[in-house]
Amino acid sequence: MSVIYNSMYYIASGGLILIGLYIVLVKTNLIKIVIGLNFIDTGINILLICIGYIRGKTAPIFSDPRIKSTSVVDPVPQALVLTAIVIGVAVLALALSIVIKVYEHNKTLNVTKIKGLKW
């Protein structure tokens, strides 16, 4: 059981990253590709939070004076993930605006039909 417990969050994050990469590499629809990028971001965020998690400890907020400084999880990855989430949504919004622009010029979202996007 403890094997499952220890690995399930890693499976979640690794799985999301791989599914996202699969979507980006294989799918041909531009909006799908952006969804894939979003999954990659979410997966990385889960990975970072997992790294900071310590079993049996609470969130690093000392609003209750009974919480001792030895009983909280690592706050740094949480700060990093906050940054990463905002960066992720910024990139995503810009990506979608460029998708709209590409669509206006080509009238399609299919990568294989857009000359400048074939790879």
Binding site: L47, V91, L94, I98, V99, H105, G116
Partner: protein
């Protein structure tokens, strides 16, 4: 003492100020980048002698490293920061007259933020902060590539964005893995503890980080985005992307390999990759008919040469690589600016349409020729010294494989020479068709072209102006103990 955090704070603050000035008058906003970058260039020149005496480590927030983010202003950092500020200052002067398409105030803000990102990357001493600045650089360049809002621009930006996002995702995975093992994000602290971890683990996390930086540095096989992005952006942006942005990717690679991971084992492989990048870039450039695509492919080639030089890993090799960064930044910025001006006048990007422009636009064509000659490596221009030094350094290694490498590099140079000579010949010796009303105007566009031309010649004739700084920078890269000692104090 001037605080180096101003180097990042000033362009950032000025870019936030632009819309407020826009309320007063629409005419002021295009001069704001010039003012900001002028201050920046001045600060970085003031800092150079201080840094050469003793490297400056400033903490942001007032705690001692590794407990807070700190800027490490060593010789390498200040050298790159000066180069970035100087070149982007010239490009911002060019942009005053060149950028006509609305919304111009957004262009100028994005440009300043791009420069902020590039300076932040080279100065920061914290690996996650490096990622954040990397995102600033990348996101603003995605937006600027699409700035023309035409078909090519949007498609190129899309391609760049997809590949760049995967690259920055990989960087973040690498950072997460490093944090998981070492519990710290300070680069010097990680470098100090690097021997404690499992080597395979380190190799995998390094692979993630190098792939991420490789996308921005356009190392083969991660360079599919570059020709499109650099050729369809506005010319001033092509200049800064080719001159500055890809160098920050190279800086990231060098910092990872030399300082953090101390990975001597993969250096020959890196040199090999650089060489393939060089050969592919030059061969593709040879086939192009579009002048901006040609210059973009030539950038891939030149960046391959830089990476090759960094892979030699002797002090002379790294020194030559850094010299190549300077000469390529100046020459490529000049070429893109001159080509952009010619395209702007002629109205077509094809090489044949530039035939005979030498008589109509003598100054620009002359500047273009100087830039091309410097890239090829003809004396007495800056490019000659860097190429000569790279070849010399590779011979000095005395490994047979490096001799083979040199042969390939020379072949690439011959290819490069042939296409540049073709263009120069067309410029001056072909008859011009329907180029009647084209004249050169003096003003904002010509000033940076002249300054860049002069600086290429001056550095070519008096390389000792920069060699002192570059030698220190090369020894910073190779001597990682020194870097760790600056930041963490003692050893």
């Amino acid at each position: 003492m001037v605080n180096p955090s101003l180097l990042i704070g000033i362009p950032l603050a000025f870019s936030f100020v632009v819309p407020l000035f826009g309320l007063i008058s629409k005419k002021i906003e295009k001069y704001i980048p010039i003012v900001a970058l002028l201050i920046n260039t001045a600060i970085s020149f003031i800092l150079i002698p201080q840094v050469l005496k003793k490297s400056i480590v400033v903490s942001i927030g007032g705690w001692s490293p590794p407990f807070c983010i700190n800027l490490v202003v060593g010789p390498l950092g200040i050298f790159l920061a000066t180069l970035i500020s100087g070149v982007s200052l010239l490009i911002s002067i060019y942009a005053v007259a060149y950028i006509k398409k609305e919304p111009t105030e957004k262009y100028h803000m994005l440009f300043l933020l791009l420069v902020t990102g590039a300076i932040g990357i080279v100065l920061t001493g914290d690996i996650f902060n490096l990622f954040v600045f990397f995102e600033i650089l990348c996101v603003s360049s995605y937006a600027l590539v699409a700035y023309n809002k035409d078909k090519e621009g949007a498609e190129a930006a899309m391609k760049y964005l997809i590949q760049g996002s995967i690259g920055s995702g990989f960087i973040l995975i690498g950072i997460a893995l490093l944090y998981g093992i070492f519990g710290t994000l300070n680069m010097a602290d990680i470098a100090n503890k690097i021997t404690l971890a499992n080597p395979t683990f380190l190799f995998i996390s390094m692979a993630f980080l190098l792939t991420g930086f490789g996308v921005e540095a356009a190392v083969f096989p991660l360079n599919a985005w570059l020709p499109d992005a650099h050729s369809s952006a506005p010319s001033s942006i092509s200049a800064i992307l080719s001159g500055i942005a890809i160098k920050t990717g190279v800086y990231g690679i060098a910092r990872m390999i030399y300082t953090i991971f101390n990975a001597e084992g993969i250096l020959t492989f890196v040199a090999f990759l650089g060489l393939i990048t060089l050969l592919i870039g030059e061969m593709s450039a040879f086939k192009q008919n579009d002048i901006k695509r040609l210059l973009a492919y030539s950038s891939i080639g030149q960046i391959g040469l830089v990476i090759f030089a960094l892979g030699i890993a002797t002090s002379l090799g790294v020194f030559a690589g850094l010299f190549q960064i300077v000469s390529h930044a100046l020459a490529k910025a000049l070429l893109f600016l001159a080509a952009g001006y010619m395209i702007y006048k002629v109205g077509s990007k094809s090489i044949t349409s530039l035939n005979g422009l030498g008589k109509k636009m003598p100054l620009t064509s002359f500047a273009f020729t100087i830039g091309a000659f410097s890239l090829i490596g003809l004396p007495p221009f800056a490019g000659f010294i860097s190429k000569f030094l790279i070849v010399y350094a590779a011979i000095q290694v005395k490994k047979p494989i490096f001799l083979a490498f040199i042969a390939i590099a020379l072949i690439a140079t011959v290819i490069e020479a042939s296409y540049f000579f073709k263009i120069v010949q067309n410029l001056f010796f072909k008859e011009s068709k329907n180029l009647k009303n084209i004249t050169e105007t003096s003003g904002y566009i010509v000033i940076p072209i002249i300054i860049l031309t002069i600086s290429i010649i001056v550095i070519g004739i008096h390389p000792q102006l920069i060699t002192g700084l570059l030698k220190e920078a090369a020894s910073e890269l190779l001597g990682r103990g020194g870097y760790i000692a600056w930041v963490l104090g003692g050893s």
